[in-house]
Every structure is written in C-alpha cells, then in structure tokens.
Amino acid sequence: MNWLLRHVQSLLASAGHLARAPIATTFTVLVMGLALALPLGLDVLVRNVRSATGDFSGAIGISVYLKTNVPEARARQLLRSARDRPGVRTVTLITASEALAQFRQQSGFGAALDALEDNPLPHVLAITPTAAGDDPAAVENLRRYLQAWPEVETVQVDGDWVARFNAILALLRRLLLLAAGLLGLGVVAVVGNTIRLEIQNRRAEIEVTKLVGGTNAFVRRPFLYTGALYGLLGGLCAFVVVAVALWLLAPFAARLAQSYGSLFALHGPTLRDLGLLLGAGTLLGWVGAWLAAGRHLARIEPGT
C-alpha cells in the first residue's frame, strides 16, 4: 500500500513538474505527437484506400482456352482435375456450343455465324482462384501449371491489376512499419534528450537526495514517470492530429467519392488506435527516460 502510494505520489510530482513548465512541455509533446502521428496517418490512409477499393479478390479470373480439337468429354475430365487442384476455388466449363450461343446473342453477328460450317470457338474452363488478390505469385503458379497441360492452347489471367494494386498496398504497409520503427526511435531520442536536460536542471536535488540515502531507483523514478507522461501525452497529441486532419479532409473525400457515385466516407482513427498509440507512446517515453537516467544519474554523486 505504502509502495503504491509512493508511486502515485511520484507520478503526481512528475505531472506537476511538467505542468509548471507548460511551454517546454508543449513543445516536447508536440514533437513526439507529430512523430507518432505520421505512422498512424499512413495506417489510416492505407485502411481507407482498402475500404474504398473493396475486396477485389473475386475480380481475378483465369480463362483456360483449350485447343479446338479437344472433345467435350475430355474437357469435362479436365474440369474435374482442375477442380481438385489446390488453389482453385471454382471451375466452370463453357463448352464451345454454349460459347457460340452466347456470342450469337451478344454480338449480333448471328447471320454471319450461320455461314460457318463448324464452331470455331474452343471449350473454355473459367477458374476463380482461392488465392487472395494480394498473392500474385500463387496465381502465376496456377497459370503455369494449367499452361503445361497438352490440351491447353492458352491461359489468360484477368484482373491481375488487382494483384499489382494489392502488392502496392502491401508495400505501403511495410513502409509504414519501417516509418513507425524509425519514428519510434526518434521519440525515444527526444524523450531521452529532454530527460537528460531535466536531470541536469535538477542536479542539486538529485545530489541531496542521494546524500540523505536515496537509492538510485528512488532518484530515477520521477524521471521514468516524466518520460512515460511525455509519451502518453505525445500519443494523445498524435491521435488528435490525425483525427483533425481527417476531419479536414472528409468533405473533399466525400465530394470525390460522390463524383464516382460511391458512398465511400473517410474512416477516422479508432479507439483501438488510440489505445495502441497511448500504449506505444508511454512505452517509448519510458524507455527513453530509462536510457537517459541510466546514463546520466549514475554520474551524479553528492559532494564531488
């Protein structure tokens, strides 16, 4: 109980210290907030692009054109073996006669087609791969496998732009992680430097505290809390920055969506983002303070 009380007191004392230097505190928190806002903003952007473009995995289709001399019975066998192939979700067979009927209906060349002696169209296997759109390699593997069948004339993949698009999104996400890592390091450095200055400013207090028997842990405690508080406030600041930025962008996004006849609306950062930001900020602040305190506190000894 006593122990908990001490920590609460230490935390309050640290908060008091920050409140007594509002301008310096504001600047530090702002720097950290902007650093943390960038990865969050990127993440929200990627999420919005995903939701705006929807789930495209259904848009990928593979058309397998069989050679014209392949009989329909053989085509049905191929249909079955294609269905057993892993990575294939659905297969349908469009027979040459079905295709011709369809073509006759849709093209308006009915009379011209009647003039043909036999059906020039091949049987076609229409395949939907199970591979999600963000795995172009799996789709490519399937294409090669099908191409190797002797009965196959050509294999055409439709909608591989979806795969490319998804690959770009995946790249963006990776970039985001990288940015988050670097900016996290930046936050640690900012807090570390701030705490270093703070330690220098409070040198007299540290010396006296050690002189009357304060342990290193006791002396370090308020600085760790200060660092964690900086991080917490920085996280909060980042959330506000991103939320405000999206609020500013929302009407423009809505206008753009409207011009495409879409109901898309910008999604702001979620409560989960807030929790994550506050947690990450606090942790980074704590680590920065811990590093600075470890380096600089040990050097301060009373009376030397």
Binding site: W3, A204, V208, T209, K210, L211, G213, G303, T304
Partner: protein, 231 residues
C-alpha cells in the same frame, strides 16, 4: 562511532588531501575538527559520509568499513548519518516541510510518521509553524536550522556538520552550537568541522586539529598550544 586508521586520500586530480590520519570518536561524543582551509577537514567529513572512499587505510563508521562497502548498500549507510552543510543545500523550490521530510521519504516512512517526525525536528530547531514557507522566505540562520532539522529528522546516531556557522553572525552561530549540544546530550555523536576557534574554545569540547592532511593535535581546546600558533 568513527575510526580512521592511517587514512590517506588522494583525489583523482592528484591532490593529496589527507596523508596520514588516525582518529577515533566514541559514541555519544561531540568533537570539533579544526584547521586551515585545505587542511583536510572537508575530506574527513566526505570520507565519513561515504561521499569519498579512502585511498589508503581504513575508515570505520558505525562498525562498517567504508572502503569496500558495495554501492547498493551506500544509501542505507548514509541514512544513519545526518549531514549539515555550510550552504545548507536546501531545495529552493520546495517548502520547508518537504525539505525536512526528504530523508524520511527516501526511507519509505509512512505519511503519519513523516508528519510527526518533521514537526518534531522543526520544533527542535525552533521553526515549528514555518512548514509551508519556501527556504528563500527565511533568514540565513533559519535556513541553516532547516538544514539541521533535515539532518536530524530520521534520528541518525551520527551527525556531521561542515562549517555550519560559517555564514552566521556570532549570536546565530552560538544558537546553532547550543542546538548541537542539546542533540549531543540526548546521545547523538557529533563532529563539527569549523574554523571558528572562538566557538570551539567557548565550548570546552574535544578538538581535533588537522594540518596538511595530518592530525596535528587532539585534545580539549584550552590545553592546545598549537591553536595559538595557527592564529
């Protein structure tokens, strides 16, 4: 309570502050440490409070040899020693109460205990009622007494003071000395470093004289001829 056995102290910059000091202070004693500036008075006090470790010889305080005390045990060691400085070393941005309470706070005392003991200590130095004032709002003499209250608040068995009257006029200095004597009467071992020979003589207490890093005299001050030579 304090034993120095052939202690030498050489600082990292090469200056030899103590070359050969042996002395012994029994529990319950009150002694003065005198000598010119640079004679080694401050170094002796620093060695006692474990702000420095001896280069040679042994310093034993409260039965503990300081030379090999591991760093993690230094805080507990220092809590048994009260230290008073000439410049009192109070925290300017904290009220009197917080300044005096610091040794209890670092020792994890309960709030009730802290409240009780801080008041008792302030009462002893005649400053009860000044708890909420900042050090700068007090006179120099009062500030020095706050420093003493901080040194005695955790009731350490040993009190060391470095020129505690250096900034005070004779009347305030006499008051502070009176305070030390009263503490000594209730059993606190006290060592006061000073160059105020007048005070030492008036007290009639034991005086250890340092000269060039050695003990040049150790006796009741009135019988010590070397004092005259110093002046």
């Amino acid at each position: 309570m304090i034993t120095f056995e052939s202690v030498a102290k050489r600082y990292r910059n090469g200056r030899e502050a103590l070359s050969q000091v042996s002395l012994h202070v029994s529990p319950g004693e009150m002694v003065f440490l005198t000598g010119r500036s640079g004679a080694g008075k401050s170094t002796v006090l620093k060695l006692i409070a474990l702000l420095e470790r001896p280069t040679r010889g042994q310093v034993i305080v409260g039965g503990e040899a300081t030379g090999k005390l591991p760093a993690r045990r230094i805080p507990a060691f220092r809590r048994r020693i009260g230290v008073v400085f000439q410049d009192h070393r109070l925290l300017a941005d904290r009220p009197v109460f917080d300044n005096v309470a610091l040794p209890l706070i670092v020792a994890d005392s309960s709030l009730r205990e802290i409240d009780k003991r801080v008041r008792a200590a302030l009462d002893q130095v005649g400053l009860l009622g000044h708890e909420r004032q900042l050090p700068a709002e007090l006179s120099v003499g009062e500030q020095q007494r706050v420093g003493i209250a901080r040194a005695i608040v955790s009731r350490p068995p040993l009190l060391i003071a470095d020129e505690p009257t250096g900034n005070l006029d004779p009347q305030l200095a006499a008051e502070v000395m009176g305070l030390f004597k009263r503490l000594n009467e209730v059993g606190v071992t006290i060592m006061v470093a000073t160059h105020d020979l007048h005070l030492v003589r008036e007290s009639g207490l034991r005086e250890i004289v340092l000269e060039h890093g050695r003990v040049a005299g150790d006796a009741g001050s009135l019988e010590l001829p070397s004092i005259e030579a110093q002046r």
